[in-house]
């Protein structure tokens, strides 16, 4: 299995605070990788480094063999890295389908002059783009809502729309920042299945930031744990559950005993909360 994206010793500093500290990360192709950690651990900062909002002070980010750190965000997007946001960030005053069309931007070739004169190529391209956007809306289950303003959509639909916009880029790597935040258990389960199908059906490599451990443990091929910007553990879900440093990061010192007690009472069900 080849490597999709690799971070080598990546560090990002804000003033005196090291938000991400020499983090290594290797994500194999077609895998679902979860990044977990307490609040403020640097998970989203790492995402922002990958998608190009931040340029890391140190280290390399290598996407399919080519270094991408320091490239402009839109170039990184056009290489096939798409993302969603922790707090939904749609283009509120655009319709749902226009949001998806915006996601197709890296694929479009017509320039402004062609748009001005209405060239044949531009019109064909636009038609194909609209059709693709409709297909994507249907794929994420928003058929019929395409002409609604994005800000008028219900919360769950907005989350789906954000994913549809990311998919419009035909990404090779998808960064999902807390995709199940604010969802009930049923919606969460639905979203989990959906994320898995993205990998299985479309072959997209996925990195996930998630707080819901049930989701993380159920879906991930591998898990990376960050705490205070440093990677403290890495491995399969099973390994992470029993990792002492992880438990301490979440529960504080002495957490091990607490967890044991909890697990005994739960009759060995594997939950970290």
């Amino acid at each position: 299995m080849s490597v999709c994206i690799q971070a080598n010793q990546v560090s990002k500093v804000f003033g005196g605070l090291t938000a991400v500290n020499q983090v290594d990360l290797t994500v194999p192709e077609h895998a679902i990788t979860s990044i977990i950690g307490p609040n403020g651990a640097g998970k989203t900062t790492l995402f922002n480094c990958i998608s190009g909002y931040y340029t890391p002070e140190q280290g390399q980010i290598i996407f399919y063999g080519a270094p991408i750190q320091g490239l402009p965000t839109y170039v990184i997007a056009s290489l096939g890295i798409a993302r969603t946001y922790q707090n939904i960030r749609l283009f509120g005053n655009l319709t749902a389908i226009e949001n998806v069309l915006t996601g197709e931007e890296p694929k479009l070739r017509a320039n402004w002059f062609e748009a001005l004169i209405g060239s044949r190529r531009m019109r064909a391209e636009e038609k194909a783009a609209v059709q693709e956007a409709r297909r994507l809306l249907k794929y994420v289950g928003l058929e019929g809502l395409g002409d609604q303003l994005a800000r008028n959509l219900p919360y769950g639909a907005q989350r789906k729309l954000e994913i549809a916009r990311a998919l419009a880029n035909q990404p090779r790597l998808l960064l999902l920042d807390e995709p199940t935040a604010g969802m009930n258990s049923q919606e969460t389960e639905q979203m989990t299945r959906f994320i898995r199908s993205l990998r299985d059906d479309l072959g997209i490599t996925i990195i996930l930031i998630e707080h819901d451990m049930q989701v993380v443990m159920g879906i991930s091929d591998q898990i990376t744990v960050l705490d205070y910007g440093t990677k403290i553990a890495e491995g399969m879900p099973k390994e992470i559950q029993t990792n002492q440093r992880v438990i301490e990061a979440y529960l504080g010192p002495g957490g091990q005993a607490l967890t044991k007690k909890y697990q005994e009472r739960k009759n060995g069900s594997h939950v970290i909360r």
Partner: protein, 520 residues
């Protein structure tokens, strides 16, 4: 009678009264009476004060408005007496406040104190008129209270009658038109190509015939409106679509006008270039300046960008009239005898010809702006406006997008400048003051940001109406301010808000043309 309706009336009267006092202090009462006179078909001769009759009608109308507002504010279901009472109290309160003011100023006037040292517009005649040219101050003040109380009562009666009779009918009418709108047959009829072409043909005929029919005054007024529509459409691209607040937009207008003027006027450079070549060059120069200005500043956001562009606008104006450049730009006295257009070697510069030229410019720019707005370019602009950070991560080169928007906007402003300079055959630095920018921003906001029909409407409202209502010209800024405050409160999206294209449920035949292998 309970206490509440009276209090409501009192409060409404207080507001209306204080506004009228303010209007009196700035001398608007004369203007109001003049307006009434004009509307009744008996305009006041210039340099004369309006007659008492028209003034009385003006005050009574104002009090009627006050009374109906007061009556409408009383909670529904209160008795007739209460509502009428509220209106009367409203009119009386407003009248009392006004008459107190009138009494004070009337007395001062009698003692020979001229308030004009502090309030420029308050001439003795205006004060006299405010008191109905009465013999004594007291009787004038009493008349004022009487007229306004009667007006308040009338307003209340009208409001009650409206609610009881007309209001009910209106609701019925609204429902009827609603049904009509949903009527499938009508919808189909509206969508039919033939009908749309017929309407377009009608519009084209009107645009072709009207400039010949309505005379040079209207050609001048509507030509100005047309130039402002072009400016509005240009500003709409950078500010409405790309969301970058550019205040010094007039700079590009000035650059276009001056480039054209210097290339086509005999003074100060003796170039006298052909109109069309000069037009293209002027547009290019404006666009180049837009591009160059954009390079350093478009990374700024929000307020900073607004301030920097405002500075640029002022710099251009001040440079145009500076002593340093007098030999190059003509300095403060501007450039005269600017060339007019020619068509196949013949002059094409009568007022009718210019009106045609401006109409063509408006249509072409509106057509192109619409095309851009509905393409991927426009979508990228709007994405940048909505959330620049996210737009970048969806693959939009935000900086390039904004530079493109500013360049196109500047080019359009340059075109407007050419039309303006060439039509007036003159351009000077004061034609390009910050006020033009503010006017354009206002018309875009009032019309509807991002909406092409809205901008056309806004230009008519903000440039056309003041030309027609010459009387209120000195109060234009006041009216603008009031209008903007009102719009922001009542209809922040503008008169004619932008509509979004319906892409998901578009007619299927539009997609059928796409080659099969592209269908997924």
């Amino acid at each position: 009678m309970t206490e509440k309706p009276i209090l409501r009336g009192l409060r409404t009267g207080l507001v209306f009264g204080l506004i009228m006092v303010f209007l009196f202090l700035i001398g608007f009462t004369d203007t109001g009476a003049n307006l009434v006179a004009k509307m009744l078909g008996n305009p006041t001769p210039t340099n004369q004060h309006p007659s008492v009759t028209y003034y009385a009608i003006f005050m009574a109308l104002y009090a009627t408005w006050c009374g109906s507002a007061a009556a409408n504010r009383v909670a529904a279901g209160t008795s007739l007496i209460n509502r009428l009472g509220a209106g009367t109290v409203g009119g009386f309160t407003a009248g009392a406040i006004c008459s107190l003011t009138g009494y004070i100023f009337g007395t001062l006037n009698q003692q020979g104190i001229d308030p004009r040292a502090y309030l420029v517009a308050l001439s003795p005649q205006t004060i006299q008129l405010f008191l109905f040219n009465a013999e004594s101050v007291a009787s004038g003040a009493l008349t004022l209270v009487g007229v306004m109380t009667a007006g308040g009562l009338l307003g209340a009666v009208l409001a009650v009658a409206w609610k009881a009779w007309v209001g009910k009918r209106l609701i019925g009418l609204k429902q009827d038109t609603g049904h009509l709108y949903q009527n499938v047959l009508l919808q189909q009829w509206k969508d039919k190509a033939l009908v749309r072409y017929a309407l377009l043909a009608l519009l084209a005929a009107a645009l072709l015939i009207l400039p010949r029919a309505w005379g040079s005054y209207w050609n001048y007024v509507l030509g100005t409106v047309g130039i402002y529509i072009v400016l509005g459409l240009g500003l709409n691209i950078i500010t409405g679509l790309a969301g970058q607040l550019v205040i010094g937009y007039v700079a590009f207008f000035g650059l276009g006008a001056y480039t054209f003027a210097l290339l086509s006027a005999p003074e100060p450079h003796q170039i006298s270039m052909n109109f069309w070549i000069a037009l293209v060059l002027a547009v290019v120069v404006a666009a180049v300046f837009g591009f160059l200005l954009g390079l350093p500043i478009l990374n700024l956001r929000g307020d900073y960008l607004a301030i920097v562009t405002m500075g640029f606008g002022e710099i251009v104006r001040i440079l145009l009239k500076s002593d340093l450049l007098t030999s190059f730009t003509g300095g403060p006295k501007g450039v005269r005898d600017i060339g007019g257009p020619t068509l196949f070697g013949r002059p094409f510069n009568s007022d009718v010809d210019f009106m045609y030229l401006i109409i063509i410019a408006v249509l072409v720019i509106a057509f192109l702006a619409n095309r851009l707005q509905r393409s991927r370019v426009g979508r990228a602009w709007e994405a940048v406006r909505e959330d620049e950070t996210v737009a970048r991560a969806t693959g939009i080169n935000a900086f390039r997008s904004k530079i493109l928007a500013l360049t196109i906007s500047a080019a359009i402003a340059g075109l407007a400048g050419v039309l303006f300079a060439s039509r007036n055959q003159f351009t000077g630095p004061e034609d390009h003051s910050l006020l033009v920018s503010i006017n354009v921003i206002c018309l875009v906001i009032v019309g509807g940001i991002g909406s092409i029909p809205g901008i056309i409407l806004g230009a008519f409202a903000l440039k056309g109406l003041p030309e027609v209502l010459r009387e209120v010209e000195s109060f234009r800024m006041l009216a603008f301010g009031a209008l903007l405050v009102l719009m922001m409160n009542i209809r922040p999206e503008g008169f004619w808000p932008a509509s979004r294209p319906k892409l998901e449920n578009q007619a299927e035949e539009a997609i059928a043309a796409v080659p099969a292998e592209q269908k997924v």
